[in-house]
């Protein structure tokens, strides 16, 4: 009787231990309910609203206070071409994603041509492989994927040989890096891209695309960056044609020959279209609180001006005057 009871207890203990182990396993299993580990995107909507609805009433007194800052910021942004450096990385990722997308619009991860001559991402491009004549296309196929993309770009540095088509250099971490986070929304690139640049060094050609004609300037950027592309960008859309809003908070280094190239701290939003090199719109924030009172100052070729709550004016920073169709409206000293 006693033996039977002991055996019963032993079995009961074993059964309960098993229950405990099962529950532990369930907890472990639950931990595998992995969600996407994407840092939250910065909220650029207030900035976009500030562009759409300038809230400041601008007059000569205000322009007198901010004109120099506007001129300096515009010059640094324009000269350093930091926006181009960032957008080039985004465009490269867009191209990489497009290369890994098959004819059905499905993203193929780790695509490998099995049994064929082509390997790697070329698999999804190569009709021989996808048709199966040279092999089959392996990899994980994801129709309309959503998620995040982490981009790590080693900057090109200041070696002018980088423009030589035959020159192949390994990425050098000493040149700094740009780390960006992008989202994928139904296969397209989500409108907000954000990240940081860590002492990213790059060359800005004085003229054209190489240093040959007019030499190059050594530029660098260290700081945060957030980009709004306007909308979700399909992989085949030309990003250079998009009006892109930037928010940068960092230090631009630019070393033009013969000019004092001391680093320039910038905490600024601006808009630019890469295909339109003469276009730039700067958000000017004059309120005590961020984005409390804003207006924008734009450069379009030889024309410049500002958009404020009290209207849109043609302006000239050198002549220190803003006008409308009827003539000068306000000026500053």
């Amino acid at each position: 009787m006693e033996f039977s009871r002991q055996r019963h207890y032993r079995r009961a203990i074993v059964a309960r231990l098993f229950l405990l182990a099962t529950l532990s396993l369930l907890c472990t299993a639950s931990l595998s309910c992995e969600s996407l580990n994407i840092p939250p995107a910065p909220d650029l909507q207030p900035v976009l609203n500030a562009y759409e609805n300038p809230s400041a009433v601008v007059d000569g007194e205000i322009m007198g206070e901010v004109a120099d800052e506007i001129a300096k910021a515009a010059e640094e942004i324009d000269d350093s071409e930091i926006f181009e450096e960032i957008l080039d990385v985004i465009i490269e990722v867009q191209q990489e994603l497009e290369m890994n997308t098959n004819e059905n619009g499905e993203l193929v991860l780790n695509g490998t041509c099995v049994g064929g001559a082509n390997e790697g991402s070329a698999c999804v491009d190569d009709s021989d492989c996808t048709d199966g004549t040279d092999g089959t296309c392996g990899g994980l196929t994801l129709p309309s994927p959503n998620g995040g993309v982490q981009v790590n770009f080693i900057c090109d540095g200041w070696d002018e040989r980088q423009f030589d088509p035959d020159y192949e250099a390994d990425p050098d971490p000493a040149n700094g890096k740009i780390e960006l986070t992008m989202t994928l929304d139904g296969g397209g690139i989500g409108r907000v891209v954000w990240g940081t640049a860590a002492n990213c060094r790059y060359l800005v050609p004085g003229e054209g695309d190489t240093c040959e004609a007019a030499g190059c300037f050594e530029a660098s950027y260290n700081g945060g960056v957030a980009v709004d592309l306007g909308d979700t960008v399909p992989l085949d859309e030309d990003i250079t044609e998009l009006l892109v809003t930037f928010v940068v908070d960092g230090v631009i280094g630019f070393d033009p020959i013969g000019v004092d190239g001391s680093p320039f701290a910038i905490d600024q939003s601006f808009r630019v279209k890469l295909a339109d090199t003469d276009g730039l719109e700067i958000l000017v924030d004059i309120g005590e609180q961020p984005l409390e009172e804003t207006f924008t100052y734009f450069f379009r070729g030889t024309t410049q001006g500002l958009r404020a709550r009290n209207g849109t004016f043609r302006c000239d920073l050198e002549d220190m005057v803003c006008s409308d169709d009827s003539g000068p409206v306000f000026s500053w000293q």
Binding site: R11, A12, V14, A15, R16, F18, L19, A21, T22, L23, L25, L26, T28, A29, S30, S32, C33, E34, S35, L36, N37, I38, V89, E92, V93, E96, L97, N100, L107, L109, N110, G111, T112, V114, G115, E119, G120, S121, G138, L140, L142, P143, S144, P145, N146, G147, G148, V149, Q150, V151, N152, F153, I154, P171, I178, L184
Partner: protein
């Protein structure tokens, strides 16, 4: 051709079932096969008694003690052997409570395997299925069984320098089964399976790029699997030692041993259920 084959198979299963049921209704020997002590093991809260063995086409089980059974599914081993890498799997099931009319059980296990895509590329998968089940004996002939299955799937791929990636998906499966012991040999079963929850597939991987390097973490919508269901009428024939489980139903196919669900449209909404096993 394939449709005709499926139709023929379906007809054969129905005919075999009805015929066998008829045979079972005829009073035979006094030896009891579906008995109070010998219960259905699959989709129920019951487990093998101590030192009892089940050897089947789909599953091998052994009763360690009265409340604890260890099993392994055969298909992952067999299919794994055919495709080069066997898939070890083990399941422990414990009937924690079995008094009066009610039985309760929990089970947990794992399945691990590898799929080779090419000489250089292989994908590994690891499944953790955890389940709870209850069985209620309404009367000596009729029982009901309810339970839930939670399966966590982890997978990763590796191969050449450019290849790496990982996949995660979890899903919950609920089931209910009505068992009617028509005779000592024949039991009719009516099983309903339902997937009320499927997590999005989370895929981590890289794109084949040097500079910039591009790592992706993607969510793939698999909501088509959510609310997948199967309604399966079937039979379990039980003789002295031999047993046959046979059923064919509608909609999705719940793959035994792999703990996965094949959407209905893949198999023309035919949900089969089959096993042959001996118990001793």
């Amino acid at each position: 051709m394939l449709r005709r084959l499926r139709t023929s198979l379906l007809l054969a299963i129905i005919v075999a079932g009805v015929t066998s049921a008829g045979m079972g209704l005829v009073p035979n020997s006094a030896r009891a096969y579906h008995t109070y002590n010998v219960r259905l093991l699959d989709t129920t809260a019951y487990s093998l008694h101590r030192r009892r063995v089940r050897i089947g086409l789909m599953k091998l089980s052994y009763g360690i003690i009265d409340q604890l059974q260890v099993s392994t599914y055969t298909m992952p081993w067999i299919l794994g052997a055919i495709f080069e890498d066997v898939a070890p799997n083990l399941e422990l099931k414990s009937t924690l409570y079995n008094r009066k009319r009610l039985a309760l059980s929990v089970s947990a296990g794992f399945l691990e395997g590898t799929i080779r895509q090419s000489d250089e590329t292989k994908a590994r998968y690891f499944l953790i299925p955890v389940s709870v089940a209850s069985s209620v004996r309404i009367n000596p002939a009729v029982s009901t069984h309810f339970g839930g299955f939670y399966t966590a799937v982890n997978g990763d791929a590796e191969g050449g320098d450019d290849i790496e990636g990982a996949v995660v998906i979890d899903f919950l499966q609920l089931w209910g089964m009505l068992e009617w012991r028509v005779s000592r040999v024949v039991a009719l079963t009516f099983t309903v399976r339902w997937v009320p929850y499927v997590s999005d597939v989370v895929v981590n991987g890289t794109l084949d790029a040097d500079n910039p390097t591009v790592a992706v973490a993607l969510e793939q919508d698999v909501s088509e699997l959510q609310n997948a269901f199967a309604v399966i009428p079937g039979f379990v024939f039980s003789w002295d030692r031999a047993n046959i489980r046979l059923g064919v139903g509608y909609s999705s196919f719940f793959v035994e041993g792999f703990f996965l669900v094949v959407p209905g449209d893949v198999l023309s909404n035919i949900a089969p259920e089959f096993d042959v096993f001996v118990r001793f």
